[in-house]
Amino acid sequence: MPGDTATSTTLVPLILVATRKGAWLVRGDAGRSRWRLDGPHFLGHIVSHLMLDPRDGRTLLAAAKTGHLGPTVFRSMDLGATWREAARPPAFAKRADGKGRAVDHTFWLTPGHPSEPGCWYAGTSPQGLFRSEDGGDTWVPFSSINDDPDYLRWMGTVQDGTPDGPKLHSILVDPRDPAHLYFGMSGGGVHESRNAGKTFAPLLNGLEVVEGFDVADPTFHDPHCLRLSPADPDRLYQQNHCGIYRLDRPGDTWVRIGRTMPPEVGDIGFPMVVHPRDPDRAWVFPMDGQTVWPRTSPDGKPAVYGTRDAGATWQRLDAGLPREQAWWTVKRQAMSADALDPVGLYFGTTSGELWMSADEGGSWTCVARHLPEIYAVEVAQRSAEAGG
């Protein structure tokens, strides 16, 4: 019966919120109008990323540390009901001369290709790339980049990184080919592998750098967030320290599409989100990148900007958001989209508010306030009957 079919496919969103002081799971109803907070998990832990494995719908990984203790990864096989610590968290190879690097925190988690169940990738601070083949229980350095002399030079030192430490982030897996990978480094640029990580190469053509520095040197490139269009994996978008870009493969030259943003807002920011079904649609959250980099909403007036034409034009989307005196912003992994229709957009703020739009940015509702500073927001769709 049609009614039975509709019931069996009712999907509800699950928002995964990672904060400076713990993690929350936020469960929504089918109408995306009622929300239930489950948490805090790991109260007091600095959780950089919380990610659900879309291949089984139940495995969660959380990248965590505390102010005093070293980093770890927590794993749940039952959607957050119980957690266990990874047996071997991401860690660099030990060097005999005592000069080796140490992972300060795992920053980014990406589930592997659907054809590789149990495979995950992790990016760390300082920049490192790691892989797990057992669902996140044990991690090993991945590829050669962690110890490659060129990559080490491009990564720079901790002093070259962001105030929260240099990051390897935005690990992307081509849904058509598990051997085709991308990642970004802040700093250190965008890199691509077509041989399952055996080698990576910079992918920087067209990207700008801070005035006066060598655009040919990956050291000076700072991609903030890379996204791949699920509907067209040959299209990438990027929010960079120096603008918003699009890249259409097999081309290798990024196009600065942020030039069409209003000049009083600019095209500096951290997060970027792509529509799950329309490669021409994407959203950003601009911030004030002038003078000392306040990292606040421009003029204290937060807004999402969306494009429907691959960056030719942008529309301001701020209905429901504060009109003034709102000095928060959104970090690079704190904005996400669900795959429902219409698409739901979600973002978490540095002031601990969780906002969502059930109409693709047309209007915004605050889901939660007074959380700790939000570091990451991911969203998954789950069957309403699945529980958990």
């Binding site: 203790l69 968290p89 060097r95 005592g98 140490a102």
Partner: protein, 85 residues
């Protein structure tokens, strides 16, 4: 020997004080790791360096070297850095 465990690490030990064995600080930490998997990496990084905000005291004296020797009558106190914030 007696090993005092700071609050952030008691999720591993379940107790504020445990018995440890070994003739050096490195051996004592290896003993703790064997019984409480994961605890060492929260204190010591992959290059065998003490983490910046974890401190070790033997009989009230700060130590900074994993090779420092201990015996069964010593008391090892592991503490998180005393600074606030």
């Amino acid at each position: 020997m007696k090993v005092l465990i700071p609050t952030p690490l008691r999720t591993y030990t379940g107790a504020h004080c445990v018995a440890g064995s070994g003739t050096t600080l490195a051996e004592v930490l290896a003993d703790l790791e064997a019984r409480f998997p994961g605890i060492r990496f929260r204190m010591i990084d992959e290059q065998d360096r003490m983490r910046p905000h974890v401190r070790f005291f033997i009989n009230g004296r700060a130590v900074h070297d994993l090779a420092v020797r201990l015996d069964d009558t010593d008391e090892l106190a592991i503490v998180q850095a005393l600074s606030g914030g």
